[in-house]
């Protein structure tokens, strides 16, 4: 009979498994002392390992998990070891929560890793569940500037070596330049200021007007504008990033908003006056704004100058892209009389109004535009 039963079972065709095998997800973020992180382990995996379903009703309840948190932490932490520069790091687990992933509920264990020597290379030895499940994988993600490092650890390959300095200078450069481009593209205040300056480019007061001007006066204006703005914000960005001058962020953000008001007013009342001085003086203020962003990026120590340079290049590239997109449109619109007669005054009022609203918001810390409410 025994052989018969086995015989029956083995007739079945190999089947497709929709389930994926078991994984745990360990996410780490570098800190000054070591790492903080979160470790997600499937409750389904802890069941055969330590037996969560105490009352054997096949239902794993929050109560059954909650009362075993210490045991779960102990089980997991004895199967994870991290070292920094060959010295052991201490791993402590915080209060566990639950997360529902696509293949079931996971316990979420916050981790604080404190390294005796918090220096490269860090190693991570992982052996969770490998003793009972040969197909288990530890999927480790380490956040870093730029792309995160990821590892799929298996019984055959159970060690991850992390080198925070892995991102080479070129990679860092690209990352920082990208941040610069990104910042100018999502920085509506910078874009609006720039547009307000660009709109009248090439236009002259009636007595100076050269009727067959073509592109030349426009390009001349734009070149001057962009150069003035760039030189100015590069100066203050460097001064602030190198911590030579430091101004309160609120003051800077308010001043940036005011710069938009001024640029808007100029459209209405003072087109004849060259815009270069506005671009330069307010460019100084915008530079401080960029520096605030840079400060938030947690730059790798020792490469500040490079990062600064790269970030600035990114900002310039982003700015150039905006100019290149806007110029043909402006040029085209300027051929029609409505541009100067109707569009510019309306744009002036709108831009000034938005700038004014932002100034009030930022100055007084109140919310006027619904889009800006948190």
């Amino acid at each position: 009979m025994r052989i018969f039963v086995l015989t029956v079972l083995m007739l079945l065709a190999p089947q497709v498994y929709a389930h994926k095998p078991s994984d745990s997800y360990l996410q780490l973020t570098p800190t000054d002392q070591g790492f903080t992180g979160e470790w997600r382990i499937a409750l389904r995996d802890l069941e055969p390992a330590i037996g969560l379903d105490r009352d054997a009703d096949r239902k794993i309840t929050w109560g059954e998990v909650r009362t075993r948190h210490a045991e779960i932490a102990n089980y997991a932490l004895t199967r994870l070891a991290i070292t920094g520069n060959e010295a052991p790091c201490e791993i402590r687990a915080g209060a566990q929560l639950v997360d529902d992933l696509s293949d079931g509920a996971y316990t979420v264990m916050p981790l604080v890793v404190t390294c005796e020597r918090n220096a490269a290379p860090w190693t991570l030895d992982y052996s969770l569940l490998f003793d009972i499940d040969a197909t288990h994988r530890g999927l480790v993600t380490v956040a870093a500037t730029g792309a995160p490092q990821t590892f799929a650890l298996s019984p055959q390959n159970n060690r991850a070596t992390l080198s925070a300095g892995e991102a080479g200078p070129w990679r860092q450069f690209i990352d920082m330049a990208r941040e610069g481009v990104w910042h100018i593209w999502i920085g509506y205040d910078h874009i609006l200021f720039l547009l307000a300056l660009l709109l009248p480019a090439g236009l002259r007061a009636p007595r100076q007007r050269d009727e067959n001007g073509g592109w030349a006066p426009m390009l001349k204006d734009v070149l001057m504008l962009v150069t003035a703005f760039t030189v100015a914000h590069s100066i203050t960005l460097s001064l602030a990033a190198l911590k030579i001058i430091s101004l309160p962020p609120r003051l800077i953000e308010t001043a940036i908003a005011l710069s938009i008001v001024v640029a808007g007013m100029r459209l209405r009342y003072a087109i004849a006056r060259p815009a270069a001085w506005i671009a330069f003086s307010f460019g100084l203020i915008h530079g401080f704004g960029f520096a605030n962003v840079l400060a938030d990026l947690q730059l790798p120590p020792g490469s500040l100058a490079l990062s600064l340079f790269a970030f600035n290049i990114g900002v310039e590239l982003g700015q150039c892209a905006i100019v290149l997109l806007a110029l043909p449109l402006i040029r085209y619109a300027q051929r029609h009389t409505f541009y100067e007669r109707a569009f510019m005054p309306v744009a002036a009022v709108l831009i000034s109004a938005v700038g004014l609203a932002w100034s009030l918001e930022r100055g007084a810390g109140i919310s006027l535009l619904t889009a800006s409410s948190q």
């Binding site: 052989i3 190999p14 929709a18 389930h19 309840t61 997360d99 009972i132 999502i186 509506y188």
Partner: protein, 394 residues
């Protein structure tokens, strides 16, 4: 990524947040939801499968190791959860890699390989097992099943024939019918097996299920839905639910456009992950409100599987790409990849469907040639082949 200084309320923050979210979703960091604290101790978070094992460490002596691994493989089969294959592999311990492992180990090992779709490794182990024990019926049966799935019908038939003197006629007939029904003898194979089944008395429940599944499979291919339904219902009633029977039944219901029934099946057996794709297909076909949510779950599962680094496109994945994501060309690539190792009618079906949807009928030629060469009877395949021939002419 930082958008603006944190202390300042800035327009564009929402767009920024959306972009941050998007870039997170696109990066290799798993899309992890927000952890929470359940409302009360009574909240059920997970279901432990029946017969779950709780042994802390793998058994040490050969006999208990093999017994444990065999139980795990059986659980993998009935539950459809491949974790048990990992448990089984671990239970075998050092014998997993041993070249001179005893017969019992080689057999289990072959089965694990078979379930993992490592067919070459499975066949190698089975060949070795036959040199150790030439009269072992299990080895012949397992090898026949693998040969059949791979479309090596002559080799499968040879293994089935050699069973004749080793096991009772019904088992041999089941084996033979499966193979010959793929080689242009579907009707006679069905009649022979049905006649033998009617003459047999009491049967072990799982064997009854096996035979009903074979009859259902042949009926489906012959286009006899009424008879297929009867056999499937008998298979379900014969023994406890198992993943393979459930998903075969769900596929049948989808074919018959009985989408409501698929949802009912999923509600009842929600722990069987294989049913998720079928339910998502049914939800999509009926424009159900859950369709998007089910599709997202599938998407997340496949994405999670791909991060492991051992993901191989299966026919189910190809169906997901074609019918849920609407990516016909990617579906065709997945289906053709799967076709390299798996050649059941269902594997052929998805290649043909994807090739038509992708507007690349010529890509299905290897499958069309295979069907012609073996005289594979299947009304669904025949319809699609006609369409492919028309599209290639036009």
């Amino acid at each position: 990524m930082t958008c603006f200084n944190n202390s300042i309320v800035t327009p564009g923050r929402h767009i920024c947040a959306a972009l941050v979210f998007l870039s997170l979703a696109l990066s290799s960091v798993p899309a992890l939801a927000a952890p929470y604290r359940p409302a009360s101790d009574a909240v059920v978070l997970a279901t432990a499968p029946a017969g779950a094992r709780t042994s802390m460490s793998g058994p040490r002596d050969l006999q208990s190791a093999v017994a444990q691994a065999a139980a795990d493989v059986e659980l993998a089969r009935s539950s459809g959860d491949p974790r048990y294959l990992g448990y089984a592999q671990s239970a075998l311990g050092r014998w997993w890699n041993a070249k001179d492992a005893p017969l019992t180990v080689v057999l289990i090992r072959a089965e694990i390989h078979q379930h993992n779709h490592s067919f070459a490794a499975a066949i190698a182990d089975l060949d070795r097992a036959l040199t150790l024990d030439p009269r072992n019926a299990q080895v012949r049966l397992t090898r026949a099943a693998i040969h059949q799935v791979q479309g090596n019908y002559s080799a499968a038939a040879a293994d089935c024939r050699s069973l004749a003197l080793l096991v009772e006629p019904l088992v041999t007939a089941d084996c033979m019918s499966r193979v010959s029904s793929h080689r242009g003898e579907a009707r006679s194979a069905y009649r022979k097996l049905q006649a033998l089944r009617d003459r047999a008395g009491e049967m072990e429940p799982r064997q009854r299920r096996e035979i009903e599944l074979t009859l259902a499979d042949i009926s489906t291919r012959l286009g006899d839905a009424k008879s297929a339904r009867q056999h499937l219902e008998r298979a379900l009633a014969a023994a406890d639910a198992d993943a393979y029977t459930l998903l075969t039944y769900a596929d049948f219901l989808l074919d018959q456009r009985e989408y409501g029934q698929v949802a009912v099946l999923f509600d009842r057996y929600s722990e069987y992950a294989d049913l998720l794709l079928r339910t998502a297909l049914a939800a999509k076909a009926t424009n159900s409100a859950h369709a998007g949510q089910l599709a997202q779950r599938l998407r997340d599962q496949y994405a999670a599987h791909q991060r492991r680094g051992d993901f191989a496109p299966s026919r189910d994945y190809a169906r997901f790409l074609l019918d849920i994501e609407g990516k016909a060309s990617a579906a065709l690539d997945a289906a053709l990849f799967n076709w390299q190792t798996q050649r059941e009618p269902a594997d052929a079906l998805i290649v043909l469907r994807a090739a038509i949807a992708a507007g690349r009928p010529a890509a299905a030629e290897p499958v069309a040639a295979f069907i012609r060469q073996h005289g594979l009877e299947d009304v669904r395949l025949a319809r699609l082949l006609t369409r492919i021939a028309q599209e290639r002419r036009s």
